[in-house]
């Protein structure tokens, strides 16, 4: 389609579709009055049934834990997919970033920035672990904590230590961590199936609501998710970093 026609067709159709959608949404309960039986029940009983004070976490990792397993594998598939799409091509060669300090797009960080960045890595990692470990109690959990942890690794880069990061980044270990997280989730599910006859059913003591060690399998699942998400996001970001800093078209001029 010519772009003029295309735009016109789209605008007319989109206007119609938008009106149609608004008409459908008018049938929803008035904003702020929703009271579905499912959610009412969970708000009333989840804390007693699962000993998790964060009902969202109880749903994410227990009542609807199977959805979250699928979600973890969406991330898993995306990380594998990005690795496949960005894998080193035949006509590219790796260049060590040290050879071309000037051409690097990361601004050469001053020592102060560098020190500040590195100093923040510790607290960020602690915060990430905290968010993962308290997912069943307060807002947070494996996913959010995992991303925070991955950001910690990123700070090392931002403080200009990408080369260090590359040196200390044992790729296979991170791959293995990601797989262990994703596979661990499935393994917990199979354990439930073997012990109780239902996939992902809780097999641990529930404990007292509000305690750190409570909520049954939600905590180990959170740990598995945290591991997978942290490793997955480190892999994702480093795939892009790799593209930016290291790979060069073969024969490409030196900047």
């Amino acid at each position: 389609m010519r772009s003029q026609t295309q735009r016109r067709v789209f605008l007319v159709a989109m206007a119609g579709l938008a009106a149609f959608l608004v008409w459908g949404m008018a049938g929803l309960p008035r904003f702020g009055t929703f009271a579905g039986a499912y959610s009412q029940f969970l708000n009333a009983h989840a804390v007693a049934q699962r000993a998790a004070t964060n009902v969202v976490a109880a749903i994410t990792f227990d009542y609807r834990g199977f959805d979250t397993m699928g979600e973890e594998f969406i991330l898993f598939a995306a990380v594998v997919g990005v690795a496949i799409l960005l894998r080193t091509q035949r006509d590219e060669e790796e260049r060590s970033p040290t050879e071309e300090a000037e051409g690097r797009h990361a601004p050469a960080a001053s020592n102060a920035v560098r020190a500040l960045g590195l100093a923040m890595v510790g607290p960020i990692v602690v915060f990430g672990v905290y968010v993962v470990a308290h997912g069943h109690l307060s807002p947070g959990g494996g996913f959010q904590g995992g991303v925070v942890l991955a950001t910690g690794a990123l700070l090392v880069y931002l403080s200009g230590e990408y080369v260090t990061l590359r040196r200390v980044r044992p790729e296979h270990l991170i791959d293995a961590a990601e797989s262990a997280g994703a596979g661990g989730y499935v393994a917990i599910g199979v354990l439930g199936l073997a012990m109780t006859g239902s996939f992902l059913e809780n097999v641990l003591p529930l404990g007292r609501p509000g305690a750190l060690l409570s909520a049954g399998i939600i905590l180990p699942i959170n740990a598995a998710v945290g591991l997978e998400v942290a490793a997955g996001f480190v892999l994702l970001l480093s795939e892009f970093l790799e593209q930016t800093l290291v790979l060069q078209p073969r024969g490409g001029g030196t900047p």
Binding site: L17, A37, A77, A83, Q89, S179
Partner: protein, 614 residues
């Protein structure tokens, strides 16, 4: 509670994680064998499910949350014959694709195998789940895996364009589905298919119900590639590596239709029942459009993968026609046809993969006569083409016969003609391509046809061997095996009766809800009553013969150069050329165009259904 249902999903996921973890330490052949063994074992599990689900659905509640006090708290797998049969088909096709991969790729890490297994798990979860949001999760999982797989040959020109079109269009489809899920949740407060169905049935078919239905339908139609949601499909097929094409053609569009039917019969059938006649009309129209446009575009292609892609579109239309009758007879035929047609198309893609592996191109003109040294592939391609036309006793014949029969009795006898025309034209294209490539029929490199703008298909070097490599037995055998299964489907005694029983079950919303929510295990009263004697499709032999004859005749026609004498004929030919060129231009492969059509299609579907459902 049955222990079996979660296993076909858990097993491939676990092995996929292991494969990635062990990546650097695993040799190529070990990865191949592990993946094939896993896919095979998973297929056995799904076959077991199929056998066990014969009497009543198997319901597995995850995390131990069986419904409490009539309230669903968790997620369930509700396995019935239709879902298990489709799952088994997917398992078989995945095994075949992995066997084909054995020699197809020269260098391939474990990542490819891991992604294939994740894709398999997603597909099976999609077939087995009884939860609407879980269906969306698996929809996205299979999409993400499919995007990465389709873009696998990232170094080839065109791959990125095709993959991008595929990914963006299907992601927008995903947004539509999720919006539909959100609306249904807002109305019913539930995510379980059976429970939502019960809630909706108590209320009116108001705007929200219609909009949610249209959103879900449009989202699934994007996957199924119903016109005008099909613009991504040919581009994705053209660039995906052959093993992935086997799955795209045999699995993905099938699943789109399956999801649409599943959601209709578990959620909407009750509330929309008073408007079934209007809905039938709209769906039949979409089916006819899809079948005819797909067949025409198929006939115009010279790129073999694109040709099969449009054959897929056409056959999606035919299946939709069976579904659109909205009663068990048509549904039984559609289910059978879905499975048999998936097998045949996968076999054809195996043949195309062999050609690509051998000659580095899948362009019909460039390949003219070069396939003489591949008699087995030639034979399989011809057989596949005939099976595509519905040659008895292939399973495709049985499925089509059941659908034609049902359409006739439902007062739509023209559907039989739609079947004849669409399947004859699409099969003729396959046969013609086979005759050109393998037997050197017709003018070499005939340039009279309206060629596409670019170097259609000339690029795309085989990822594995060089031009001199001979196809290995592991590349041809899957095609033979798949065709054999399609043949066995048509010969299996009592299959149409079973398909009919499965369809009756499938389309009984109350019995489904009772089995899922109340744990009812016996055959539902209503189902047993309506399961009359199975249809005997012997009366439909003449149309089948007509289709096959027409396909063969059409395949032979373009072998002669068209006569261009006489001004009127020239003008007519000119007009045809212009029309086909315009049609080709519509399939521009532009992401923007795909999305514009998607929006227009959704809005159109919305307008039509609003008109008939209000």
């Amino acid at each position: 509670m049955p222990l079996l249902p979660p296993l076909p999903v858990a097993l491939p996921l676990l092995v996929a994680a292991l494969l990635v973890a062990a990546g650097p330490f695993v040799r190529r052949r070990v990865a191949d064998l592990t993946a094939i063994a896993t896919a095979g074992a998973t297929t056995v599990l799904t076959a077991l499910l199929l056998a066990r689900a014969a009497d009543h659905p198997l319901v597995h509640w995850f995390s131990g949350w069986t419904p409490r006090g009539g309230l669903v708290l968790g997620i369930d797998f509700a396995v019935d014959v239709a879902g298990a049969a489709l799952a088994t088909l997917c398992g078989v096709l995945m095994t075949a694709a992995l066997v084909f991969t054995w020699r197809y790729f020269e260098a391939v890490g474990t990542l490819f195998h891991a992604l294939m297994l994740v894709f398999l798990a997603a597909v099976l979860g999609f077939c087995l789940t009884g939860d609407l949001f879980n269906l969306f999760v698996f929809f996205e999982l299979l999409s993400v895996a499919a995007y990465a797989l389709a873009g696998y040959r990232a170094e080839d020109p065109g791959t990125l364009q095709g993959t991008l079109n595929f990914a963006v269009t299907n992601s927008v489809g995903g947004i539509l589905v999720l919006s539909g899920v959100a609306l249904l949740y807002g109305r019913s407060g539930s995510l379980n298919l059976a429970e939502i169905g019960r809630t909706l049935e108590r209320g009116p078919a108001d705007g929200l119900v219609v909009v949610a239905f249209v959103l879900l339908l449009a989202g699934f139609f994007v996957k199924a590639a119903v016109v005008p949601f099909h613009f991504w499909l040919a581009d994705a097929y053209a660039v995906a590596p052959a093993p992935v094409c086997i799955l795209l053609a045999g699995v993905v569009s099938e699943l789109g239709l399956y999801a649409a039917v599943r959601v209709y019969w578990t959620v909407f059938a009750g509330v929309l029942a008073p408007h079934a006649a209007g809905l039938r009309g709209v769906l039949l129209g979409a089916a006819a459009l899809t079948a005819l446009l797909g067949a025409l575009m198929c006939y115009l292609q010279q790129h073999l993968a694109r040709l099969l892609a449009f054959a897929t579109v056409s056959h999606v239309g035919l299946t939709l026609a069976g579904i659109a009758l909205l009663q068990p007879d048509g549904l039984a035929g559609a289910l059978l046809y879905l499975v048999a047609d998936g097998l045949v198309k996968a076999a054809l893609f195996v043949c195309v993969g062999v050609v690509q592996f051998r000659f580095d191109t899948v362009d019909e003109r460039a390949l003219h006569g070069r396939g003489r040294g591949l008699p087995v592939t030639f034979g399989l391609l011809l057989l596949g083409g005939l099976a595509l036309a519905g040659l008895p006793p292939f399973g495709t014949f049985l499925g089509k016969a059941l659908m034609e029969d049902a359409a006739g009795r439902a007062g739509h006898p023209w559907v039989a003609w739609l079947f004849v025309v669409a399947s004859a034209v699409s099969a003729a294209a396959v046969l013609r391509a086979g005759l050109h490539v393998f037997a050197g029929w017709g003018p070499p490199a005939g340039a009279w046809r309206p060629g596409p703008g670019g170097p259609d298909g000339s690029a795309a070097p085989a990822p594995g061997g060089s031009a001199s490599s001979r196809p290995h037995a592991t590349m041809v055998a899957p095609a033979a095996a798949l065709l054999l299964v399609a043949l066995a489907l048509g010969l299996a005694p009592g299959l149409s009766a079973r398909a009919h029983a499965a369809a009756v079950r499938f389309s009984d919303q109350r019995a489904y809800a009772a089995a899922v929510l109340d744990g009812a295990t016996g055959p539902a009263g209503a189902s047993a009553e309506r399961a009359g004697p199975a249809v005997q499709p012997s009366g439909t032999l003449p149309p089948a013969a007509l289709t096959v004859a027409l396909a063969v005749a059409l395949a032979a026609v373009p072998a002669r150069r068209p006569h261009t004498r006489g001004r009127r004929r020239k003008a007519a030919l000119h007009g045809v050329l212009h029309a086909t060129l315009a049609l080709r231009r519509l399939h521009s492969g532009q992401v923007g165009d795909s999305i514009a059509w998607l929006v227009a299609g959704t809005a159109g579907l919305g307008a039509l259904l609003t008109a008939v459902l209000r």
